[in-house]
Symmetry: C2
Subunit: 340 residues, 2 copies
């Protein structure tokens, strides 16, 4: 059985099962200082450090799989490689602290391109905080960038398994624009200048929702994750972890006008199944939802609710209550790798 036969998520499940049976808690007494709070299955791991929580997450971008140098600048790749990690910190309600960067580089890579890659990461650090404190650089036949990012929070982390029946479901911003950008770049499509720029920025310079994440956590929201693999897929995972189902109102899913203009027929599908928007998806009881929304600087759209049903099921309905078909997705690295 090959990895491509079962895909990323089932592989992770199998590995998680092996780890659970064999991994022992740290054996040294010093480990008692850092009790583990959250491990595999959420956006970050988390452990206690005397009063506050420390977070740690890692994500990798591989050339030809997650990006191509035909479509992206080195600076954009640097930004995105770090931004996707910051988004995981945001989804826990955390603040980014320290960064380790591992680079795999073909020997013929130009030094100035690597410097540009770092400039992109430093652009993000300057805007959102965080310091690059180490890493590793190795020769590799294919370019890849792995960042591991630590963060912290004094509030309880927002978990994927904390959604409850009757919760409303909300997202912090429009969806599908990043996927539209990927389609535009991969298929070489042309639109007007502003549309192209919006689509490109959404795909290559995603903005981690760190401020929104902090506000949600400070207001007691318990369940949040970032939308990296697509709304329906990510919400399905949250529902599965929490033992509930969800109903989404299609007409409430926020879309950018750029996406609607560029992809009038596919916009909703891209918003439902396309990944990499890095908005936060969160749930809360109606009263709590109403209370927190005014504090979010860019607002949020309530798009549905959690209902009884087979855990993990997500139904999308139109204004008349009719079921809307959801395009295949979300993103599985072993199924949908981009051609170079």
């Amino acid at each position: 059985m090959k990895v491509s036969d079962i895909g990323e998520f089932k592989l992770i499940q199998r590995l998680h099962a092996i780890i659970k049976t064999r991994c022992v808690p740290p054996v040294w007494e010093e480990a008692g200082r850092y009790p583990l709070v959250l491990d595999i299955g959420d956006d970050t791991a988390a452990w206690n450090t005397s009063g506050s929580l420390e977070l740690c997450t890692t994500d990798t971008l591989v050339h030809g799989v997650h990006f191509t140098m035909r479509d992206a600048t080195w600076r954009e790749v640097g930004w995105k490689a770090l931004a996707v990690n910051y988004s995981d910190i945001a989804s826990m309600g955390g603040v980014p602290l320290y960064i380790l960067v591992s680079l795999g580089l073909p020997g013929e890579t130009l030094v100035r391109d690597v410097e540009e890659l770092y400039s992109g990461m430093l652009d993000l650090c300057q805007e959102y905080g965080g310091v690059i404190v180490g890493g590793d650089i190795v020769a590799s036949p294919v370019l890849f960038v792995t960042a591991a990012v630590t963060g912290c929070t004094e509030d309880p982390v927002m978990r994927r398994d904390a959604a409850r029946l009757g919760d409303l479901v909300a997202v912090t911003g429009p969806l599908g624009t990043s996927s539209g950008g990927l389609q535009m770049l991969a298929r070489g499509l042309c639109f007007d200048h502003d549309t192209m720029q919006t689509l490109r920025e959404a795909h290559l310079r995603p903005r981690p929702c760190l401020v929104a994440g902090r506000i949600l956590a400070q207001h007691g929201v318990c369940c949040s994750q970032d939308i990296s693999d697509g709304l329906v897929g990510d919400l399905g995972n949250t529902c599965k972890a929490s033992g509930v189902a969800a109903r989404i109102q299609a007409e409430r899913v926020p879309l950018t006008s750029s996406l609607k203009e560029a992809f009038p027929d596919e916009a909703l599908g891209l918003a439902l199944s396309g990944g990499e928007d890095y908005e936060l998806l969160f749930t809360a009881p109606p009263d709590e939802m109403r209370a927190v929304l005014p504090y979010l600087p860019s607002g949020a759209a309530v798009i549905g609710e959690l209902i009884q049903g087979v855990p993990g099921t997500v139904v999308v309905v139109d204004a008349f209550g009719h079921v809307v078909p959801v395009p295949l997705g979300g993103w599985d690295h072993f199924v949908e790798a981009l051609a170079t």
Copy 2:
């Protein structure tokens, strides 16, 4: 200018300079809880967490560069991928805590091979502590394994820049055996069974010196690093960071009998320049050195001393005081990549 023109270490210097000019300390007030103690240039980064120090390091192994599946089993690759990180924690005097694993996998990789890879990592966790708490799995045309490992210590970290004039230089165990193993595997050499097993184990199942590291730190040793790139190269880096030179007595450098039997003419050269032994290299004033040696369960060999001279210079002399030529090395990923 290509990366292969300047090599790994000069590239890191350039990137470090860019980071220094642009990276800002974490901007959020929460960051004050985790003041940074050590960043790029040492074996791990380190920050304070209310009374103890937290460590974080990352290392990557790439197929065809650091290992081949022709020579290594999946389980051995898993062990080594984590062991090289544990070695960095050891060199700071720390204890490993939590692990994030990033895997780049070709789609045709067998699931059972990935499970074996994890088994190798879990073998190490069971022996030395530590828990795998997360990671990332992505499609990649080439197999790579990146581990990021956190650790902790209540003692001051042992730094590379803390060596002082007059210090004695010691290593915790024999050198060159791992390089001998690499030579044996790459060139398909045959020796007697025990020799082959010793060489193979040294190269593919290195043992991080966590116990020795703890003891050194607890006894006040200030300067230590692990030997990953080769004795002369790594000692040169320590000397450069500390503003001193070093003189090594060739006949004092410990060698395994397996290495001497298999490579009678090259053994010393492999011990001086070959990398990946993952023994600890440490320095201390003579009194302190004499005091700590009896506590090390596997002992340590004093091999030289720190002297005045151009910072970073390492001279190797024989029993008559004649200079011994040092083979080219250590390991630079962009110069010495192993052919697949």
